[in-house]
């Protein structure tokens, strides 16, 4: 397996609060790595460090072998990293097509080609009929799909999804699961945070359980399901 992402000893503090403590993980080769944990476990903080929004206080991040620790978000994006957000962050006053074009603006390809790609992506996400609407006019679920499409436009090697199923109705949920499985099948490495245990067990090749900024367990789905520490962390104590 080619390692696309390698994290060693990642630490992040906010004032007196330690959000991440000595987190290490590796991912690659078209596998889906699920990250579970209660609220405040540090999952989103981890993602924010990986994509450059937060500067870690310790540890290293390597993407495709390159050290990207502390790099600016746009530089990391150019390394082939894409992400979605827990609460959709679409460009509200831009059309859906324009939203999809943003990650590929620096590409050499001619406009017509990029537009065609954007349209194809919208079709795949079943949003093509709304392509001229402003993103803020979409429903929450539709915005999540838009984000997904936007993330995929530059054909990222590493994809990070933060709670893609949150607040989404079951039908849309299964569509998203399909899309995520397709991403992995296409060779992309997927990091997936979710509270929807059913979905995450279905999709993940490997699971990481976090609590209070640390990794408390990792392994295959069956290992984690029965892991006492994980169950305790979720249920209290």
């Amino acid at each position: 397996m080619t390692t696309v992402l390698e994290v060693r000893g990642l630490t992040k503090r906010f004032g007196g609060l330690t959000a991440l403590e000595d987190v290490s993980l590796a991912a690659g080769g078209g596998k889906v790595v699920g990250i579970v944990g209660v609220n405040g476990a540090g999952k989103t903080t981890l993602m924010n460090c990986l994509c450059g929004i937060y500067r870690p206080d310790g540890g290293t991040i390597r993407i495709d072998g390159h050290d990207t620790t502390g790099h600016a978000p746009h530089q990391i994006a150019h390394r082939g990293v894409g992400r979605t957000f827990q609460v959709p962050r679409v460009f509200g006053k831009m059309s859906l097509i324009d939203n999809l074009l943003v990650p590929v603006l620096s590409r050499d390809q001619p406009d017509a080609q990029l537009l065609a790609q954007a349209e194809a992506m919208l079709e795949q996400m079943r949003l093509i009929h709304l392509r001229h609407n402003f993103a803020e006019e979409l429903s929450g679920g539709q915005q999540k799909l838009l984000e997904m499409g936007r993330m995929l436009m530059p054909e990222p090697r590493l994809v990070m999804l933060d709670e893609p199923f949150a607040g989404v109705h079951p039908q849309l949920c299964s569509f998203m699961i399909e899309r995520i499985a397709a991403m992995a099948a296409a060779g992309r490495t997927v990091l997936l945070i979710s509270h929807d245990l059913t979905s995450i067990y279905r999709l993940s090749d490997w699971l990481i359980a976090m609590n209070q900024g640390r990794i408390i367990a990792e392994g295959g789905v069956e290992d984690i399901r029965g892991n006492r520490d994980v169950i305790e962390a979720y249920l209290g104590g």
């Binding site: 746009h74 962050r89 509200g92 349209e119 392509r131 296409a186």
Partner: protein, 325 residues
């Protein structure tokens, strides 16, 4: 992963583009023909000169506010600096006007670079700092030695004004600004700017170099008001700090742009033309309460037509958005 889109989407897009281009050409032609004929038909040159000035100012302002999301309440700084640069170059250094004007534009751009650190400020802080910086510019120029900038009396450019040349130059500047914004609205830079406006961190994570994109928008937005200041100085033949840095210039620019609707090319044009006419009519009938009516008009606009004329229409008919430049 990427299969080609259905032929329907492509045909639809080309159709939309065709309409857009036709409307853009129509707009440009209508504007050009109308203003070219003003002196030829003996219409009020002064009124139309200033109308073109406001169209240009509102259009350029749209770059920094509608497209980039900033509200520079000290926008007049660029105008004033452009006016004084032109005056000093022509009067004191003996430059020809056609050389002085582009240099004045450049002066505006340089000033914008100087003010660039303020771009990281949010909403009100940015607005207030912009206002203060314009004040500093005004006071600094007013206090420069009289030999350079004429102290409190200002400078007179030449022995007499050349209104007709200035008029057509203003038209050229206006058309350049309109072309510039037309290009921007469809260009990649324009999309990047708007993405940064809507959500800078998300844009960053999508690979957009936020700082550089913002700077480009800012410099472009500073170039045209500086030119306007220069051309107006040529038109009136006189420049002084009270008129060149008058806060009413920012006020009118902002109001006219908002009245038409920020974020589209036609918005500020419509706003500037409509408000110019309104201003003229009111000034003729009620010269004393002109200012009061302006203030009240702004308030009514904000309360009842916050998206401006064009903006409100597009809100009601979103499908027209890709046709209207």
């Amino acid at each position: 992963m990427t299969k080609p889109p259905s032929p329907l989407a492509l045909a639809d897009r080309e159709h939309g583009d065709r309409i857009y281009r036709r409307l853009a050409v129509l707009l440009g032609a209508a504007v050009s023909i109308y203003f070219v004929s003003v002196p030829l038909l003996g219409l009020n040159v002064a009124f139309h000169f200033y109308m073109m000035l406001w169209v240009t100012m509102a259009t350029a302002f749209n770059i920094t506010s509608g497209f980039s999301g900033y509200m520079p309440f000290g926008y007049v700084a660029f105008y004033g600096v452009g006016a004084f640069t032109t005056a000093v170059l022509v009067k004191k250094a003996g430059f020809a006007m056609f050389v002085a004007l582009p240099v004045a534009g450049l002066a505006g751009v340089l000033l914008s670079l100087l003010f660039a650190p303020t771009l990281r400020l949010s909403g009100i802080y940015f607005a207030i700092v912009s206002f203060a910086l314009a004040g500093i510019c005004r006071l600094t120029i007013a206090n420069l030695p009289e030999e350079i900038t004429g102290g409190s009396f200002g400078l007179q450019l030449g022995s007499r004004a050349q209104p007709i040349f200035a008029f057509y130059t203003m038209m050229a500047v206006m058309l350049a600004a309109l072309l510039g914004v037309l290009w921007l609205s469809r260009s990649r830079l324009g999309k990047a700017l708007r993405a940064v406006r809507d959500d800078a961190d998300a844009a960053d994570m999508m690979g957009v170099n936020v700082g550089w994109v913002r700077l480009q928008g800012w410099m472009l937005a500073a170039f045209f008001p500086a030119l306007c200041g220069g051309v107006e100085a040529w038109y009136t033949n006189v420049v002084d700090t009270e008129t060149a840095f008058n806060t009413l210039i920012t006020a009118k620019t902002v109001i006219y742009a908002v009245a038409g609707g920020l974020g589209t090319v036609t918005g500020p044009v419509v706003g500037a033309i409509a408000m110019s006419w309104l201003d003229e009519l009111i000034w003729r009938r009620f010269p004393l309460i002109n200012l009061l009516l302006l203030g009240v008009a702004v308030m009514l606009l904000v309360l009842f037509l916050p998206r401006g004329l064009v903006g409100t229409i597009l809100r009601a008919r979103p499908q027209w958005r890709r046709y209207i430049p």
